[in-house]
Each structure stands twice: as C-alpha cells, then as structure tokens.
C-alpha cells in the first residue's frame, strides 16, 4: 500500500516548509508535519508486519514531540520577549 508514498510526500512538504517559512512557530509546525509523516511510516510497517513495536515507537515519538513542542515554544516566547519579533531571517547574529 502506498501509505509510504503518502508519508514521503508529507515529509517533503514538511521539509519545504521548514526551510522556507520565516515565522519560527511556522517552522515548528512544519516539524510536526515531518514527525507525523514518520509516525505514519512506523505505524504502517507495524500493522503490516504484525509487530507492535512500531506502534509503541510511534507513541514514544508523539510523547517526545509534545515535550519538544513545549520547550521549543517556551524558547520562542523568550526570543519574542527579547527581539519583539520571531522572524528567523532577521536572526543572523552568528553571521560571518
């Protein structure tokens, strides 16, 4: 079944988004998309192969995604407080 194709396309959309978007929160949302694509892959193979390990792994991924989203958003709020914007294109202090 071409769930794999679906997951691939979803992943690439997320990839495009993460590279393209200026807003930091939009980047985060693109990350979520990518994670979901991965989850789909995992679950598909778990169902197909009869082994529950894939689904359990997907659960863990979801848990970690939640944790990461929380911390990431906390950081973004901090950045907003400092710079009053969250435009990643303007955050280039590490430039040469």
């Amino acid at each position: 079944m071409r769930y794999i194709v679906l997951s691939l396309i979803l992943f690439c959309i997320g990839l495009f988004g993460i590279i393209t978007r200026r807003n930091a929160i939009a980047m985060l949302m693109s990350i979520e998309l990518m994670l979901n694509a991965v989850n789909l892959n995992l679950v598909y193979f778990s169902v197909r192969g009869g082994d529950l390990t894939g689904q359990i792994f997907a659960l863990f991924v979801i848990a970690v995604a939640a944790a990461e989203a929380a911390v990431g958003l906390a950081i973004i709020i901090n950045v907003y407080r400092k710079f009053t914007h969250i435009d990643v294109e303007r955050m280039t202090s590490l430039k040469w």
Partner: protein, 610 residues
Amino acid sequence: MVGLITLIPALSFVLIILTGFKLKDKAAIVSICALAASFILSLYLSIGVFRSGPIEINYAWFSLSSFALRIDLISAWMLLLVSGVALLIQIYSIGYMKGDPRFHRFFAYMSLFCSAMLGLVLANNLLLLYIFWELVGLCSYLLISFWFEKPSAAAAGRKAFIFTRAGDIGFFLGILLISFNLKTFDFNMIFSSANNLPSVTLTAITLLLFCGAVGKSAQFPLHVWLPDAMEGPTPVSALIHAATMVAAGVYMVARLFPLFALAPVTLMTIGYIGIITALLAGTIAVVQTDIKKVLAYSTISQLGFMMLAMGSRAPMAGMFHLISHGFFKALLFLGAGSIIHAVHSNEMNDMSGIRRAMPVTFITFMIGTLALSGIPPFSGFFSKDEVLLAAFHNMPAAFGLAVIAVFLTAFYMFRLCFKIFPGQAKEHGHESPLVMTIPLMILAVPAFGFGFFNPFRGAEAEAASRIVLISSLSAALLGIFCAWLLYGLKVVSLSSAKKTFLYRLVQNKYYMDEFYDRLAGAAVLSASKIFSLFDSYVIDGIVNLAGLAATAFASLNRLFDVYIVDGLVNLSGAATMFFSDRLRKIQTGFIQSYLLFIVAGISIILIIRR
C-alpha cells in the same frame, strides 16, 4: 765485566751532570777515577785476550738485537788507546781548563765521550755500533762548541754535526740493507752469511757503510768540518779529532773487513778516496799559519793513509798506523796546547824561541814530529812502512802518490818546527805546569817505541821491499831538507810565491767551503721556490676553489630559499585567505540555509548510493 768498561764513565757523566755545580773543580777527579777504572779493566781484559783469544759477551736486550760485545785483537788495542790517551788528556785538562766557568761540564762531556767511544769499540752488532757512533758524534758537537759564546765555535760544532750526519745517512741505509737482506745485525752472523749475496748488493751495502766512515773520519769530500773543529779546546782536539773519534771510521772498516773483502769495487774506491784525501790535506797544510790547523790537516792526511791501507787489503797495517798515529798525534796536539797556553795565541807568527822557553814541550813535540814524518826508529816509520808496502803490492798507482804525501808530511811539519822553535824567546815565555807536561812525557814513550813491536803483524804480512823502504825514507828526508832550506836558512823569499794562483787555491782549501755554501744555498733556494709555487698555486687554488664553491652553493641556497621556501609560505597564506574568504560565506547565521545544506547533502548521498 766487559760492559763495565763502558758503563763506569757513563755513570761518571750522569753524576757530574747532576752534581757538578756543587763539586766544581773536584768533578775532574770523578771523571778521572772513572776513566782510570776503565783503563785498568781494559788492561786486565786485554791481557786475557792476548793470551787466550777473543772474548764475547751477549746480554739479551730486545728481540731485534742483543747487547753483544766482543774483545779481540783490534778492539783490545783500541780500548787501551782510548782509555789510556783519554786518561792522560783528562789529567792534562785539569791544567788547561783551569778557571773555566763550565769546568765540570767539560769533564762530564769527556766522560760521556769516553763511555760512548769504548762502547763503539766493544760493539759486536751493527745496531749497537750505530747507537754509539751517533753518541760519539753528539759528544763531538758538544765539545767543539764548548765555548759557544764564540759564534765561530757554535758554527763549527754545527758544521761538524751536519757533515758527519750526512755520512751517517749512507751508513744507516747500509745497515738497513744488511738487515733487510740478512735479517740480522750481529757481526758473526753477517760474516758467515754475507757471501751468499749477489755482488751488486754487497757493493751497495759496503759503499753505503763506507759513507759513514767518510763523514766520521773526514775523508774527501766530507773532510771540511775537521779544520773548523779546532775551535774547541785543545784537549778536545787532541782526544777526539786526532786520536780516537776520527779513527772510528777506520776502525769500523777494519771491524767489518770480512764484509768489505767481498766487494773489490768498494775497496778500490776506499783506497783512492784515501790517497786523494791524503794528498789534498797535505797540500793545504803547507800554507796554514794556525798551528792547530796544520795539525788538523795532518790528521786528515794520515786518516787518508789509513784508508789507503784498507783499500789495499791490509786492514792490520791500517790499524797499526791508527794506534801509533793516535799516540803521536795526541802528543803533538797536547804540545801545541801547551804552547798556545803559554803564548795565548794560535798563530805561528806570534810564536818564536819556544825551544829555549819551553824545553820539555820542545823535546816531546820534536819526538812527535819525527814520528809523524816517518823517521826511524820512531813508531811512525814502521807503521807508515806497512801501509806503503800494502799499497805497493795492491795499488801501485796510489803508492806513487803516497810517496809524495810522505814528502809533504815531513815538509809541513818541519816548516812548523823551523818557524816556532828557533829564535829569541818572547817575554812571557815559560814552561807549562807539571800537570800538563807529565802527560806529554808519558805520551812520548809509545810515540817513540810503539813501532818496535807490531802486534798486528800476522796474516797479511807482505814481503818487505827495498824499493818501498828507500822511497819513503828519501821522501821524508827530502821534505825535511826543503823545509830547512826555506824556513830554517830562509834561502829564498816566499812573498812572490804567495801571489800565485796555486798558492791562493791551496790557501782557500780548494774553495770547498764556498762550494758547499753555494750547494746548500742553491738547494734550499730551489726547494723553497718549489714550495712557494706549490703554496700559491695548489694550496691557494684549493682554498679559492673552496671559497667559490661555498659562495655558489650559498647563492643556490638563496634562490631556493627565496623562491621555493618563501613561495610556499606565501602560497599557503594566500590559499588560506582565498579559501577562507569564500568558505566563510557559508556561515550565514541563517539556520534555514543550514537545513538546506543538510537536505542537499542527504540527496547527494542518495544519488551516489543509487
């Protein structure tokens, strides 16, 4: 015991050297006692040898040669001559050298000389002989230049050493040749195995050995040092340059005669050199005005006689003449010393009326003169007769010349006598002290009587010949007569003769000294020219080349350094700048571009891994 003969005077030398300045005048006693001991020992051993044949001793020394000593007929008589005459001369020297600031040194050197000469006489192998030969030469040098404050004395010592050394080079080469061919230095072994060698080798060896004798015994052409050696004190002249050291060359030929007998060419050479020397020296002696020089040339002439005897295959005749000459020549020199001591001058023109002023000296001197001139019954007549006999039978051409030499000998000796003895005595003429006249009297005895018993008569006795007898006697008497005419009665004035070329030639000793000067000078100059050329072209060339090479290498290094090394450094700097300039643009600080690179990298991996 044999070795003690040599050893005791050597110890005396060491003792005097170490303590002389404390002993001062008593040093003479040490030396004389040592020498007397040697004399007594020699006498004792010699009597034993005369009775029962030769004695030989061998002390082991080192592997090449041993300390081999031998007393036989000729060495026994040499021992007696050397120790006896030296003893008398040392007693004489107590008076002659009185007051000299280096008195004790004189006796030290005398002791050393006696030790070395006695060792030379005793030696039974070549190495030992050569060692003592050189030692004797050293003592000669020390004693000739004893009064070295005088530059002429120092120069004379050097001259003696150099000329005898020149002869010694040949001698040493001869020794090397013998040891190379026969593998031994020992005389007995050499004599037994020498006839196996080819005659060319034998001739070469013997000629080389004879070179040593030419130097030491003042034969032509190395005779020029002996007259100059008269700069030394008169006892030195008496001992070394009349009786003993110069006889060493003759003795060496006699000792090694079994070897020389195998090389007839060498013997011929020896004979002719001998007679040439005798004539040459005789002619020069005729025009000398220094009393010691007359005696010196006379010594050279008599040594030539002895070599003539050797060349005529009569070594025993030569030895006989050597011993008897030793006695009367020492006598003559001591007498001359006595006269010089009284008159304070060597020149015959300053001396007159000695007969009245110094009678003892006069009588002993006359005895010596008669002996030297070959008048019977004095010893010189008998010994000269033996030599002339041998020459007559074996080298007739030389015999004729020898008769002329006899004439000359008598002539110049009586010229001397007629010049100094008659006439008015000078004011300060007085007889010498006893310590000087007693040796004169003692020496006069053998000078008179030694000829009556010829210990060397034996194997080579030639048939007595009337011709020889008559010719030698008439030559001698003719010589005396002419001298009496010219110098006694003063029949003819000699001033015009003094202006001739012949006179000037002879007076300048045939210009031999000038010849040697030129030779040495030319040799040194050409050698130094060669060396300077070598220095400037070869050595400077090498140095300059090294310098050029260094600078070339340095410039090469500089090129390398500037272009390559600096180039590399600059290149690395420029490359770093270039790349860093480009590569830093990657650091955009823009996180999404980083992500893009990640994706691009993964894609590339995917493409490659496909």
